[in-house]
């Protein structure tokens, strides 16, 4: 390579350190890259090539080989059987003695000794995914007769011990079950012939744990959970239940089924002698002890709830393998590991998922539809992949990564192979839509609508809406109707009204069909109509705002207006009218765009603050009522645009005009839909969006305050340590205890802020619980219907349900989501939220309380 490119180029080159295309790779880097790229053409062939290459290297290459294997095993788990083969080959005695070679049992042992150190580090960090994938690797090495089966048995036993720990968290136990089951499924055949192992000693604790851990499951069932009162459902499979079932099936067959689950390329490699390596014995370290309060303050991280993982079954057993069978479990977990690991690059992830058959046994998947020779394979790849991803997307209370990741991943799959992935997506949508009548959880249904809209937005909004025309005869609040409305609403948000209308069949375009929102999503200024008694008054306010009048001027004007109105119409609540005029006029000048809205409220913050405090130029009157009026004015103004209502409320909280508690209480009281012209006490999806927005705001503020406080404390500690160090250095050995450093003003105010925000957080949660309680058990109008729905007295009669029943059902569903979603926060306030039940509590009331207790981590 020459460097005659002139000074400019040379400088440029010098600065761009480490361009990967530059040919500066060391032999070590090259070898590592080769190991990681294993299998670009033919993995078996490449394994022997890599092995022969390694054999010619000096023994100092060991650490590079280990590094390559460690990354390969933990980041490309689909290659694990081939990495095991590589190690098998490297451990074999060198076939020739003429050339010097590092190959042989000693070399294999050396590699494993060093690999083990990396595994020990994963164990110390409790990096469970890495631990599990290493366990898979070790198990394959047992099958390949590199590692002794009794030492592998010891490792799995050590992991299973976790299940017997007192008060083990479900998250930790789940990981342990997965590690042990997956290890056993792979190494089980070797165990059966080893008298030093006893498979029951692994299987029994797993069985005991999986069977006993059933209590919190019913809170996270995706379909008709508590209502149906069955934990076993044919439409959803729990991960650990499935693992156990697959394991038992394997056990029954003497682990012969393993031969059909994963490739064992090492079985062809020449094997001489007995296993060369014994895994050392280990202890799984305990979870970091959470000291009450302290760890919370310093980390600012809320530990999320540990829930069972239910996967919705979308396809038949002929199309995709059942996750409760050995092969189904293996494929599902293999695909999900890819989805998880490659979250950083969805495009590569999609490519790898569609290339998965390359890493599974021949005959596992059908050939491509275009290649007519599809009789050989069992399952449809695209359906299996899509079902796996959707299983993650629909996990309750929330998916591991942001839902938009899974959505974007499906989009990438469709872009890679439209003719095969497209139909799988279409079938999935239809299947999920069908479940809407059978108790699909409201949170899952809303995620479905969200996925649908984003997906359609990426594919020209093409959907065969007409197949759902028949469902227009269902009641307005039936989940299928709610879904259609939501899906269309979300599509409109991402696009625009006229565009989406064109995608709908005629029957759905009419306003009476109740699919489209009642009007185009524009603003509705209540005082536009010249016939309105306040038309002129509102125009004056509007003109003042348009002319950028000062906040004080506007306040004075409103005060004057109030006095005038009070003399003319005495029967009206004049203060409410004034608030409505002021807020709507403000929204009006900010109605052109989100930025216009922000500009308008930033310009008139003092005005808004005074309105929110209950007064106009002077504070007086009830602040709660004032804030209710403000919120109602927002809903009134944006009644045709629910998206804007959510945006405006979010910013009103951000600018601290209203508090999260205000929003929650108001939403329950004033934002519910009507049933036969009367407000029905409920929590619709729209209301839930607002409530969730408020709860997240309250929780987010506490999170910020915690982080800030932790930062200040750390700074303070460092200063103190420095002070001690410097005083010790200058003042000899004299026993000078530095004065306890007085708290800085910043620290004091940070503590104060956290206290105040924590109170607000608690108040927000309490308001939400109260709101739900009023809708579901203690309200006057809705409660009798709600009680019947909660007590599932007529779930089987749901085809005769009307809007009220479905609304109550949806409310109950959102209540469940509230409880499971906010478990970590609710737990903190368990003492104050937990209300004792009276002895004669009605069934509905005790169900309500049961769910809350379950969420707060209290056994029933």
């Amino acid at each position: 390579m020459s460097y005659h490119g002139g000074s400019h180029r040379r400088r440029h080159h010098h600065r761009d350190d480490g361009d990967p295309r530059e040919a500066h790779e060391t032999p070590e880097q090259k070898l590592k890259a080769t190991i990681l790229k294993l299998g670009e053409v033919d993995p078996v062939q490449e394994v022997s090539q890599i092995a022969s290459h390694i054999c010619t290297q000096p023994s100092s290459i060991t650490s590079t080989v280990v590094e390559g294997l460690r990354i390969g095993v933990t980041e490309e788990p689909f290659k694990i059987p081939y990495y095991a083969t590589l190690l098998r080959v490297l451990s074999n005695n060198s076939p020739t003695t003429e050339t010097e070679s590092i190959q042989g049992p000693e070399f294999g042992k050396q590699i494993l000794e060093e690999f083990w150190k990396g595994f020990q580090t994963y164990l110390d960090q409790l990096a469970w995914r890495e631990i599990r994938l290493c366990v898979q690797f070790f198990s394959h090495l047992v099958a390949a007769q590199v590692i002794s089966s009794h030492s592998m048995y010891g490792l799995i036993r050590a992991i299973v011990v976790v299940l017997d720990e007192f008060g083990v968290s479900h998250g930790r136990a789940r990981q342990a079950v997965r590690c042990a089951s997956e290890g056993l499924m792979i190494a089980g055949r070797a165990f059966t012939s080893d008298p030093n192992t006893n498979i029951s000693d692994i299987l029994d604790p797993i069985r005991t744990y999986v069977h006993s851990a059933s209590s919190p499951k019913r809170l996270v069932l995706p379909v008709a959970s508590v209502l149906a009162n069955t934990e076993k459902s044919e439409v959803a499979y729990e991960l650990l239940d499935s693992a156990l079932e697959a394991l038992e099936a394997m056990h029954r067959s003497g682990f012969q089924e393993a031969l059909e689950c994963f490739p064992r390329p090492y079985s062809d490699a020449a094997i001489d002698g007995s296993p060369i390596f014994d895994l050392p014995s280990v202890l799984v370290p305990p979870e970091a002890i959470e000291l009450e309060g302290i760890s919370n303050d310093s980390e600012g991280v809320i530990k999320k709830g540990d829930w069972a993982e239910f996967y919705v079954r979308i396809f038949d057993n002929e199309v995709t393998p059942n996750i409760s069978t050995p092969i189904g479990y293996f494929l599902r977990c293999g695909l999900l590991d890819i989805v998880d690991i490659f979250e950083v690059n969805r495009k590569e992830c999609a490519r790898l998922l569609l290339e998965y058959p390359k890493w599974s046994l021949p005959g596992t998947f059908q050939g491509k539809a275009s290649e007519a020779s599809s009789g050989d394979g069992k399952w449809q790849l695209e359906c299996t992949v899509v079902e796996s991803i959707l299983g993650q997307l629909f996990l309750l209370p929330e998916s591991t990564h942001k839902t938009v990741y899974y959505i974007a991943l499906v989009t990438e799959l469709c872009k890679l192979s439209p003719p095969t992935v497209g139909p799988a997506v279409g079938k999935s949508i239809r299947r999920m839509y069908g479940l809407l009548s059978d108790g699909l959880d409201a949170a899952v249904a809303d995620r479905l609508a969200n996925w649908f809209s984003i997906h359609m937005s990426n594919f020209n909004f093409m959907w065969v809406w007409k197949e759902w025309i028949g469902d227009l005869s269902l009641p307005q609040q039936h989940p299928k109707r709610v879904f259609m409305r939501r899906a269309v609403e979300y599509e409109i948000r991402l696009s625009y009204y006229d565009r989406i209308v064109k995608t709908l069949p005629e029957q759905m375009q009419s306003p009476d069909a109740g699919v489209l929102p009642p009007g185009t999503p524009g603003p509705s200024f209540a005082y536009d109509d010249p016939a309105s008694p306040y038309h002129d008054a509102a125009q004056n306010v509007l003109n003042l705002l348009r002319g950028r009048g000062k906040a004080e001027e506007v306040m004075a004007h409103l005060e004057e207006l109030k006095n005038t109105l009070e003399t003319t119409d005495s029967d009206q609540n004049v203060t409410s009218v004034i608030r409505s005029i002021a807020v709507q006029a403000l929204l009006h000048i900010g109605s052109r765009s989100f930025s216009h809205f922000l500009n308008a409220i930033e310009r008139y913050l003092p005005l808004l603050r005074n309105l929110a405090a209950g007064g106009i130029s002077t504070a007086s009157g009830s602040a709660v009522e004032a804030r209710n009026d403000i919120l109602s004015a927002v809903l009134d103004f944006w009644k045709n645009n629910k998206h804007m209502v959510a945006i405006v409320l979010d910013k009103l909280m951000q600018y601290q005009i209203v508090d999260p508690t205000d929003v929650i209480a108001w939403t329950f009281a004033h934002a519910s839909p009507e049933v036969i012209g009367v407000r029905y006490h409920s929590c619709s999806t729209f209301q839930w969006d607002l409530i969730k927005g408020a709860l997240d705001k309250a929780n987010g503020r506490v999170a910020i305050a915690r982080r800030k406080l932790a930062g200040l404390r750390k700074e303070e500690d460092e200063n103190a340590a420095r002070a001690i160090a410097s005083s010790a250095a200058t003042m000899d050995i004299e026993e000078t205890k530095p004065d306890p450093v007085a708290e800085s003003p910043a620290l004091t105010s940070a503590v104060k802020a956290l206290t105040s925000l924590t109170k607000e957080q608690k108040a927000a949660l309490t308001h939400a619980v109260d709101g739900f309680r009023r809708c579901l058990v203690s309200g006057e109008d809705s409660a009798s219907i709600a009680r019947r729905v909660i007590e599932q007295r007529d779930w089987d009669n749901r085809s005769n349900w009307g809007d009220a029943e479905w609304l109550s059902w949806e409310t109950w569903s959102w209540y469940l989501q509230f409880c499971r979603m906010y478990t970590p926060y609710l737990r903190n306030y368990a003492a104050s939220l937990d209300t004792e039940l009276s002895a004669q509590a009605e069934p509905a009331e005790s169900r309500f309380q049961d769910v809350l207790n379950l969420a707060m981590g209290q056994s029933l």
Partner: protein, 220 residues
């Protein structure tokens, strides 16, 4: 991760060509930035559409969310010219967009996202000679979402277009032209605008402490 494949949230070759920061400081600023430059937007895409898509990457429970959106405007005509800035409260949210949103469609166009150094005054306007974005001046194809060849637009788009062209007619220059978006919660005990407390409020929730958001306005 990222040993095997490159992560999509690494900074790309996008940069603010007029920034005077040196490279190291730019890198440092980008590694903490919560602002994104969004390119290849349709001229008719609204802030609300952008808000909807980008809220999918927001983490309000961590104290995040969309702070503000600054629509890129043609310097002369004051109409959108195909780019914008989205500012979040946290860096992690901006990174999530690079991984999950960049390269997907909004308003039927594939948009691109890049980490940005952050909005500075004047950056809301196009830098091309004509007033729009420089890249549009090198374009010779027909692009309905970007104003066709010139003035022709499809009939169905005319209404949408008219609304859009009028929307930002009031766009201003200079300091304070774009909103701040609301800062963190602040406990300003000395705020003169004390809110009266009503008896039915939870008595221990301190409501009389309000933020002085004006401070933020000055800060920007």
């Amino acid at each position: 991760m990222a040993h095997v494949v490159p992560s999509l949230d690494q900074p790309s070759n996008y940069k603010d060509s007029q920034s005077r920061m040196d490279r190291l400081r730019q890198q440092d600023a980008l590694s903490r930035s919560s602002t994104l430059y969004i390119g290849n937007l349709s001229f008719y895409t609204t802030e609300e559409q952008i808000y909807e898509l980008f809220s999918k990457c927001a983490s309000p429970e961590e104290g995040g969310g969309i702070k503000r959106i600054i629509m890129g405007l043609d310097r002369n005509t004051r109409t959108p010219c195909g780019f914008c800035f989205v500012e979040y409260y946290t860096h992690a949210e901006a990174l999530a967009c690079l991984r999950y949103i960049s390269g997907t469609k909004l308003d039927e166009r594939i948009i691109r996202c890049d980490l940005d150094l952050g909005y500075r005054e004047g950056r809301q306007f196009g830098r091309g000679k004509s007033g729009g974005q420089v890249r549009d001046e090198h374009r010779s194809d027909y692009d309905a979402g970007r104003g066709g060849w010139g003035a022709q637009a499809q009939r169905a788009e005319i209404e949408r277009r008219r609304e859009m062209e009028e929307r930002y007619a009031d766009a201003q220059d200079g300091p304070g032209a774009v909103p701040v978006g609301g800062g963190d919660w602040k406990d300003a005990g000395e705020n003169p605008l004390k809110r009266a407390r009503s008896p039915d409020e939870a008595e221990d929730v301190s409501r009389d402490v309000r933020t002085k958001l004006e401070d933020d306005t000055q800060r920007m």
